[in-house]
């Protein structure tokens, strides 16, 4: 036996499970506080993913119990109403690392490497020697299965200790389908910014379709904490489709494996069948560039040939991969998620169009909330998410943080020393990166790795929010000024008149003429609020003419027409100016007169529409409204038709290859794209005004 052969035979086959045992710090089990958060996270991620796949609105309950008379021992109970796991799969799901279909599929999902829940079972076993109890019920079976599991860490295999079929009831209801896990581990329960509560709160923001309950029971067996983050929408995330890899995102090893596994006889058909975005023209081009014949047999390619094939791929232009493999949360839902968990005065959100970086589709979503009860002398709270999973550690080393820190927030009204770093102020900034391939800095998946393209995309999105914030602040300032005037004429002036009259024993004089002199302005007061009783959004505006001359205006207000809102109770009538913009003509408002504009918005939920923009056409300034920029309005009207033209052009280019593409674009146009249009339209109108 040669020395080399001897050495090789001596090398132990290290099971992945054993590797994990030695490297648990990589996987989020390095501290006692983190261990329980990671465990909760794995359980919740699994539940959300499973519910999403099975199209079930998730109800998730997490319970932590301090084990009495123990040092740092916690029991974790996780329960969901998901599809459950078939009896025969339980061992694999809970007992084998790198198990699951997700590892090979290319699409956006929460747990990407499938290392998740098995790690929890293993950690439990390593720190307490206890088995993990699992109860699962699938809809097609009449009873649930109960299993106690351990793991043979050397064989990467689950060991089943008991198995029974039972009837699962919760309260007096028989559970149709769901999963129940109870496990015990060495861990510490903490509060604060890196806690289970924070993690679940963040999870609920980006999963507004989930109903999440949390309970903490202390060592005396008392319920100490109970939280419930209610479902804010009944719409499940758009179903995501698995896509084939894109030639720009492929690595050598992956390409070799695909070639080896392929059944295609010709290289061109291999390229077209196994990749997305490859037209027959492009496939031929790759072969030519790689100096390979179109008919070369994929299975037989040598390493140098694979290398030149890879090089050729990077030189050829392909159609972008379809982006319907992504599941953005979408503007409105982020807004809802944020509003329900954090008390604030102003929320702005943005979902950018999906983009592709190195063959991987990705999409950026951002949100910013401001005001309310948030502290103004502290750093802004950052909420980072990758594929709807909260990132709670390694904030400083994360691309999402770096993008936020690279912006000079001072120009948008937040404090920031030197125009760099995490800004200060009563605000929370949310960044969500959705991608088929999120690159993390480490296995712990807590920080997104640097990437210039993605960074620029996040910056663009954040700058847009910044402009919205600035607009809001400006508006607030303007309104405060108007409010001062209102206070003056409604409170102070009558008090002066009354006091002066009573001191002199004379009658109180009529004030209207004095009021006109003091105000000498036309003022728009507007309020948007949710009416509990009718379950509609109400918009109420009053236009006051406090000048000495008659005035006439056209008043315009925006409304969420594209979101499906229905305008009701609009007694004043008016007419539609363009999509999402209504106009009312106010003919001659006499000095001292006022005009009411009121309407309701049906088919919306609470929090969907909280701020209405008011514009005016007319010669004299209206305090509390912005002058309408006609040029931009024109552009906006044109844009609505341009979108259609653009789509038409794509279709004629390469019909058979782009059908799926167009479909996905069209789908996006229906929802998110419109939102972006609206957002940027409002901003530009305002910017114009600010430049004067």
């Amino acid at each position: 036996m040669s020395i080399a052969e001897k050495m090789a035979s001596n090398q132990k086959q290290i099971a992945i499970s054993e590797f994990f045992e030695k490297n648990k710090h990589f996987l989020g089990f390095d501290t006692l506080n983190r261990a329980i958060i990671t465990a909760v996270k794995e359980a919740v991620d699994n539940s959300l993913d499973a519910c999403e796949e099975a199209r079930i609105l998730p109800d998730i309950t997490i319970e932590i119990q301090r084990v009495p008379k123990s040092k740092d021992q916690l029991i974790l109970i996780a329960m969901d109403n998901g599809p459950g796991i078939p009896q025969k799969s339980i061992e694999n799901v809970f007992g084998k690392l790198l198990y699951g279909s997700r590892f090979h599929a290319i699409r956006q999902s929460r747990g990407q490497q499938g290392i998740g829940i098995t790690g929890v079972v293993m950690y439990s076993q390593l720190t307490t020697g206890k088995q993990t109890y699992v109860k699962s019920k699938i809809a097609s079976e009449s009873s649930a299965v109960e299993v106690s599991l351990g793991i043979d860490t050397r064989k990467n295999k689950a060991v089943k200790y008991s198995q029974e079929r039972v009837i699962w009831t919760e309260g007096d209801q028989i559970v149709e389908h769901g999963l129940f896990i109870r496990t015990q581990m060495k861990a510490k329960f903490q509060r604060g910014s890196q806690s289970i509560v924070q993690y679940l709160k963040m999870t609920s923001i980006v999963n507004p379709h989930a109903n999440i309950t949390f309970r903490y029971i202390n060592s005396d067996g008392e319920l100490e904490i109970e939280n419930n983050w209610k479902r804010a929408t009944n719409n499940l995330p758009t179903p995501v489709k698995a896509i084939k890899p894109h030639p720009h995102g492929i690595h050598l090893g992956q390409l070799q494996r695909m070639l080896k596994d392929s059944d295609e006889r010709k290289l061109t058909s291999f390229l077209r069948q196994n990749f997305s975005g490859v037209s027959s023209r492009a496939a031929k081009e790759v072969c030519t560039k790689a100096n390979l014949s179109d008919g070369a047999k994929p299975k037989l390619l040598k390493t140098e040939q694979v290398n030149s094939l890879l090089d050729a791929c990077s030189e050829v232009k392909f159609l972008p991969p379809p982006t319907n493999c992504l599941s953005p949360i979408e503007d409105l839902l982020i807004k809802k998620g944020l509003s329900k968990t954090i008390d604030s005065k102003f929320v702005t959100t943005l979902t950018r169009n999906p983009r592709v970086a190195s063959g991987n589709p990705y999409q950026i979503e951002v949100g910013l909330i401001f005001g309310g009860s948030m502290p103004s002398d502290q750093q802004v709270q950052l909420l980072r998410f990758a594929n709807r999973v909260p990132l709670m550690y390694q904030q400083g080393g994360c691309l999402l943080t770096q993008a936020i820190s690279s912006i000079d927030w001072r120009q948008y009204g937040l404090e920031q020393s030197g125009g760099k770093g995490v800004p200060k102020g009563p605000a929370t900034i949310l960044v969500h990166l959705a991608s088929t391939n999120v690159q993390f800095t480490s296995e712990a998946k807590e920080a997104v790795a640097s990437n210039d393209e993605v960074m620029q995309e996040i910056r663009k999105a954040l700058l847009e929010l910044g402009r919205n914030l600035r607009r809001h602040m400006k508006k607030k300032k303007k309104m405060a000024k108007a409010q001062e005037k209102f206070d003056l004429i409604n409170d102070i002036l009558p008090a002066i008149a009354e006091k002066a009259s009573s001191l002199l024993g004379k009658p109180v004089p009529e004030l209207s003429s004095t009021i006109s002199k003091i105000m000498n302005a036309v003022i728009m007061e507007q309020n948007t609020y949710w009416d509990k009783d009718t379950k509609t959004v109400r918009v109420a505006g009053i236009l006051y003419n406090y000048t000495s001359r008659p005035r006439s205006y056209t008043i315009l207000m925006n409304w969420p027409e594209k979101q499906g809102a229905v305008m009701i109770d609009n007694d004043r009538g008016g007419r539609k100016e363009t999509i999402g913009l209504w106009a009312w003509k106010i003919e001659t408002l006499q000095p001292g007169e006022r005009a009411n504009i009121e309407f309701g918005l049906d088919n919306l939920e609470k929090g969907d529409w909280t701020e209405t923009e008011v514009f005016y056409r007319g010669s004299a300034e209206v305090i509390g409204a912005s002058k309408l920029d006609e040029k931009i309005l024109e552009e906006m009207k044109n844009q609505n038709s341009d979108e259609v033209l653009e789509t038409m052009e794509v279709i004629t280019e390469d019909i058979d290859e782009t059908i799926s593409n167009v479909a996905s674009r069209a789908m996006l146009n229906d929802s998110t794209n419109d939102e972006i249009q609206k957002e940027s339209y409002q901003t530009t109108l305002f910017e114009k005004e600010g430049d004067e």
Binding site: L488, I492, L493, A495, I496, K499, L503
Partner: protein, 365 residues
């Protein structure tokens, strides 16, 4: 010369303020309150009185902004409050009024400074004194030591004869806030002049050294910028007893201002300068020249000091040759010195050498 008013007159004058607002409202105009501009740009020398008074510049406060409208409302509340006090024979401190304003709704004060300033505004507009308004300051007056005998009406309503040398302890006679004739009578004295001293340390040094007896003078402690009652009692002793007044202060721009307010009247109280100012008072020191002549330990002027000196150069009260020279010398020197820096030459230097020399210059010793 404005003078103390009868209660009826005070009320009528205050009602003029109300009348101005009411008339404007009746005409459909914005209510206003007109008062003299209260800066150094609007003080003129009154030759007849020998003091600086507000000039003719008027500013109008109107109710077109929230802030000034609130001020007008406060003025009305204050008028009503004063009316009531006059009718009920009560009085209150400025601070008490500030707290009472809590119940004035939109007319409540947000700082005591606001209420003090408005009280002054009303004094100026109505040419009354705050004593007429039954308002008193909480600032206490100064201390006096020397062979001066006064009669003070004590709180039991009895007249009490006090000699400010024999009937008092080391802290001297405490000057009450009201030093008008109904409260204080100046009976008798046996001194040649009065010396007003800026700091407590120097006041106590002169007493310890027996300066008042040796040089036959009354010592008055100013406590920095002197309170109205301090200036008023100096004025009365100067007029009624015909005693010269000299001012002994630190050698810095702020001391010049203290002297200015004693001799010519303060800008803030220019409406009652003829009550408070002693035009014949002279500045004894520390002068800018003294810093050099006596080689006194000194500090560099701060930027605020320099700013103050420059502002004094354009102040009409310091327009004469003596002050222009003093101010310019100090600016050139770039130095200031405290009274107590004279201790450089020993504790007795001030009483044995400095003051006798300076008083000799003035012909008082």
């Amino acid at each position: 010369m404005s003078r103390r008013r009868e209660e009826g007159e005070t009320k009528a004058a205050l009602h003029q303020v109300v009348e101005e607002m009411y008339t404007k409202l009746e005409k459909g105009e914005t209510p206003t309150m007109t008062l003299p501009v209260r800066t150094k740009l609007n003080i003129d020398f009154d030759k007849k009185l020998g003091v600086y008074k507000y000039g003719k510049k008027r500013s109008t406060r109107d109710a077109s902004s929230l802030g000034s409208a609130k001020n007008l409302l406060r003025a009305l509340h204050m008028v009503e409050f004063i009316d009531e006090m006059i009718d009920n024979g009560k009085s209150s401190t400025l601070r008490e009024m500030y707290y009472i304003s809590e119940g004035w709704g939109h007319g409540k004060f947000s700082t005591q400074n606001e209420s003090n300033n408005l009280a002054e505004d009303l004094e100026i507009i109505t040419t009354s004194m705050r004593e007429d308004f039954k308002l008193r300051p909480e600032e206490d007056g100064s201390r006096i030591i020397g062979n001066l005998t006064i009669n003070e009406l004590n709180r039991r309503g009895e007249w009490m004869k006090i000699n400010a040398r024999d009937d008092v302890g080391d802290s001297g006679y405490g000057v009450p806030y009201n030093v008008e004739r109904e409260k204080i009578e100046l009976l008798d004295h046996d001194v040649d002049f009065l010396m007003a001293i800026e700091t407590g340390g120097m006041f106590d040094r002169l007493i310890e050294n027996g300066f008042d007896e040796e040089y036959r003078c009354g010592l008055v402690h100013l406590k920095g910028q002197p309170a109205r009652s301090t200036r008023r009692i100096l004025k009365r002793m100067n007029e009624e007893w015909n005693l010269p007044v000299v001012v002994f202060a630190d050698g810095d721009p702020w001391s010049f201002r203290i002297f200015g307010s004693i001799a010519y009247g303060a800008i803030k109280t220019a409406h009652i300068s003829e009550y408070l100012a002693t035009p014949s008072a002279t500045y004894l020191g520390v002068t800018a020249d003294d810093i050099v002549a006596y080689d006194l330990p000194s500090d560099d002027l701060t930027s605020k000091d320099i700013e103050a000196l420059k502002s004094e150069l354009s102040d009409p009260r310091f327009a004469d040759g003596y002050w222009q020279e003093q101010i310019n010398t100090m600016l050139k020197l770039g130095k200031k010195a405290e009274q107590q820096s004279l201790a450089k030459y020993g504790l007795d230097f001030v009483t044995d050498t400095y003051l006798p020399e300076k008083l000799a210059e003035l012909g008082l010793a």
